[in-house]
Amino acid sequence: MNASAGHHARFGIDPTTMVYASGIRKSYGNLDVLKGVDLVVPTGSVACIIGPSGSGKSTFLRCINHLEEINGGLMLVDGDFVGYRLERDRLYELPPAAICERRADIGMVFQQFNLFPHMTVLENLVEAPVRVRGEPVKDATARALVLLERVGLAEKRAAYPRQLSGGQQQRVAIARALAMNPKVLLFDEPTSALDPELVGEVLEVMKDLALGGITMVVVTHEIGFAREVADQLVFMDGGVVVEAGDPVEITTNPRSPRTREFLARVL
């Protein structure tokens, strides 16, 4: 996605917007999962999405990088469509290969880590930069080692994922996403599959990234993390955004009774 491909101006969007979602709708058959979700994530900021399970927050996150096709609304990442090509006033659906090319700029961290079990930690990090971006193996390896150092797992480079704890696996998964130099990182409940004592190490790495200025959209249940790190907090329920704004303001003084009820249960 080069600068010329950006459609910020055509849609009247602030050029510093990284993720622009407006009126996103998504349904599976008769079930409406998203009923018009809006979210604007400025470049370099962190947005946290909270909400009860089934509120559509994970689905919304997967719509950002086109893992799920949206049924309505406008979704732009860095001013461009992920799954479509805009020509005059028509959107042409892109073939999977072209979508993948654009997706390479959008990192994603999954609840279940999804590391490649047949590759070592280092191979997990080097795979995409070499095969997708065509980087020389030497450069990709050097950068991978720097990233592993950053998440505190340099000594595990030769280990296979199954030999690592959940927390370590998730830190490797974050490093793997970073290896592609993404413009934005999406986190889908990154600590929900972890033992409680391992949650801290992953949040620590994410905090570090946020301070480093990476644009992040985080679906999470960690209200404490959201309060500390997020620039905006979004509370979703029933496929709509119920409340959005300053994290401290929302968590201490929620306006909607649904937000209040949810926070009372999780805090």
Partner: protein, 312 residues
Amino acid sequence: MNKHFSGSSSARLDPTALTVVPLRHPGRWIAVALVIVVVALMARSAVSNPEFQWPVVARYLFNPLILKGVGQTIIITVIVMIFATIGGTIAALMMLSPSKLLSIPAAVFVWLFRGTPALVQLILWYNLSLVLREFSLWLPGYGTVFSVATNDVMTPFVSAIVALSLHEAGYMAEIVRSGLKSVNRGQSEAAACLGMKPTLSLKRIVLPQAMRMIIPPTGNETINLLKTTSLVSIIAVGDLLYSAQAIYARTFETVPLLIVVTFWYLLVVSIMSVGQYFLERHYSRDEQRGGPPFAGALFKTVFRFGRKGDSA
């Protein structure tokens, strides 16, 4: 348990000095004795009965015609397995396609070629010339580009390859399909999120993991196929069995030659089993560090005689 507290101090047992008496298995030993007796009787019969004609077996073991038959059997197995793997993988990918136009024809292909006996297909393909006299390509405005008589193309060897490949492809399709389905969806999603195109993700992420599920049944299929190739002797392809038949039709030394055939099949199957072991280990290398030495693993498989859990 109460004893610990109620017993007098002089009778108190030292727990570290207790001897554990293992459970005896008298039934197992009786069974072993019976097996030994039966095996001994069979061995005696094999050695003392002159009808086995062991010297004849020894004479034909490395007969050039027999060795040529062994070679032919292996060549047919290898060629068929290559075609079947390619065809089966294509059929499996078609079956997993969201498009019904691809998945239904693939399913019909599997149903058709897996549902009919290999022998019937073999004879059918061999007799193809009864239905189609010639293969020809005809272009409008140009005329016939080329034309060959079916009988010239469908030699016994080609018929054998075509029939067995299609039959085997049906089985391979099912094996590959279940292997691909065994890989978690999150794996291809993770690959997609890293920008990997579907073909790259299939080659680098999904297939290597599916291999772990595909290799063991494929090894079994290859071994089965090696034995199935003996059917081609029906349509006069010079495989191992056909070579032996050609000899004993002349000399009437039927049993010794069939023993020779048995020996060669067993030998090749054993070698293939060793190869399968190493292939399986290669594709599950993240599961074990080093892995058990081959001889040890073989020993454990063959002599699984100790208590349960010994081999764990």
